[in-house]
Amino acid sequence: MRRAMLEEMLIRLLMALATVVVLGFLLVILVDIARRGVSALSLSMLLELPRNAGREGGLLNAIVGSLYISSLATLFSASVGIPAGLYIAEFEGKSRIARAAGFAAEVLSGVPSIIFGVYGFIIFVIMLNMGVSLLAGALTLACLELPIIIKVTEETVKLVPSRVKEAALSLGATRWEVLSKVTVRQAAPGIATAVLLAFARGAGEAAPLMFTSGYSNFVPSSLLSPAANLPLAVYYLIMMPFPEAHIRAFAAAFILTVMVLSINWGSRMLFKRWSRYVVK
């Protein structure tokens, strides 16, 4: 008996220790990024283009580029992914294609991001002749975001209670009316979350964009011109041998982290608040 109690105490101690270590990692990383980031941040960092190969000036090219690429990518993948998620959720029991599509989305979410980079480079940049451009980068990123939008949409649509749909059907609504006026509205908070999560995920990725959107020191002027973005700015600037560039990398990392984490957090808050207006 005493041995059992001893074991109990020991395991509790170890668990508490492990949890503290995990949270400690988080704290150390966040504090480090924030400390370096805040001291590097200034208004000119946000509003100026880089000069002298990144050693002077700001990060405007990367900030605007990131917003362009991620928004465009999310637009592409939402316009395909939301209908796909709806279809999978509604027809999974009946259609083999729906099941296969759901499975493919799961597989896709496990594909390493560099593979998307390879895919985008060969298909969009070379075969479709888009060159290294904003458009090619956004399309590549859209492929990476697709499974997030599909899966989250699918999950929330499945949670819509069948009695709500049945009530609408019994009032004489057609299936299309039920889908567009009941199911989609009920699932709206979840779908909005899906879109925001996909945007945040896309905004943080560097590997798929290395060869597809390229990098430039200017704000992109058209869909076919190369565009910088924040993750790649962090990478290129921190790998340079100049301290001035490192400071800009710290600022970029800080902006990026704040942006991604606050969108993640905001989407969760939004979901909670919106869900109040949904029939459970």
Partner: protein, 290 residues
């Protein structure tokens, strides 16, 4: 129509990589996958150093994250006071949201100097004298150890959330039965919860393995990118993902180089693909039973 999109993307990725892998084999390069000579200018495409690099780093990452993730998951599922649960849960989710390039930067400016100035001299002069695993051959800080530590932090959220979820899915009555027989809480967990949840925990481990295996930016920045077959924790390594990231644009000019790089991609894809499928099937089955 739209729903075919996911099928379309997966199958074109698979087809593209498979096609280039076949070309690679056709040109008689297949045996060279397991050679350690990498001289693209002479047409030698040995992928072994890169495969070894990826495996070493992944192994180190898993060794560190396994005990941490496992214990934290039990804590989160079984012991945690209700009041603490949602703040700690959201903190762990925060960890999952940090972009990988930010992890890479942190590793580069904090861990690499730490390994170079403190860990390597300390461990190398003690354990390194006895075990070759800890020997310091070159000390730049860019090492398997530094990359492994960063990856272990990156995979912790996946491991914790999957294991926690499957442990929570074990019905309460089972626990109550064990507790009623006089078992302590840990005995209950050990004999009842873990036994029932073990396939799911295994799936969580596989998913985090996949994440570590396919991670690019962080390892690209801190593993050192030296073409060798590593033999110690303090050696640099050159993972498959970093190989692709560093050389992809060069492939346009030389077809055989392209086949080699895409074969590296094929290896990455096929391993993460099959492991993912296994893990998803396990999780799906557990959910149906539970």
């Amino acid at each position: 129509m739209a729903s075919i999109s996911s099928i379309f993307v997966v199958s074109t990725i698979a087809a593209l990589l498979l096609y280039n892998f076949m070309k690679f084999c056709e040109q008689g390069f297949l045996p060279s996958i397991l050679s350690d000579v990498w001289l693209p200018s002479k047409g030698e495409y040995g992928l072994l150093p890169f495969i070894a690099g990826t495996l070493w780093i992944t192994a180190v990452a898993m060794t560190i994250s396994l005990p941490l993730g496992f214990l934290t998951a039990i804590f989160m599922a079984e012991y945690i006071p209700r009041r603490l649960y949602s703040p700690i849960k959201s903190l762990i989710e925060l960890l999952a949201g940090i972009p990988s390039v930010v992890y890479g930067m942190w590793g580069l400016i904090v861990l690499v100097p730490l390994v170079r100035d403190h860990l390597a001299p300390l461990i190398g002069s003690s354990l390194g004298k006895i075990l070759p695993l800890f020997r310091v051959n070159v000390n730049t800080g860019f090492s398997i150890l530094a990359a492994g530590i960063v990856l272990s932090i990156m995979v912790l959220p996946i491991m914790i959330s999957v294991s926690e979820e499957v442990m929570r899915a074990v019905p309460m009555e089972y626990r109550e039965a064990a507790l009623a027989l006089g078992a302590t809480r840990w005995q209950t967990i050990k004999t009842v919860v873990l036994r029932l949840a073990s396939p799911g925990i295994f799936a969580g481990i596989i998913l985090s393995f996949c994440r570590a295996f396919g991670e690019t930016m962080a390892v690209l920045m801190i593993a050192g990118n030296v073409v060798t077959i590593p033999s110690s924790l303090f050696d640099p390594a050159y993972p498959l993902t970093a190989l692709i990231a560093n050389h992809l644009p060069e492939m346009i000019s030389i077809p055989s180089y392209a086949y080699a790089l895409l074969t590296a991609g094929f290896v990455l894809f096929i391993i993460t693909f099959s492991f993912n499928v296994i893990a998803r099937l396990v999780i799906r089955r557990l959910k149906r039973v539970g």
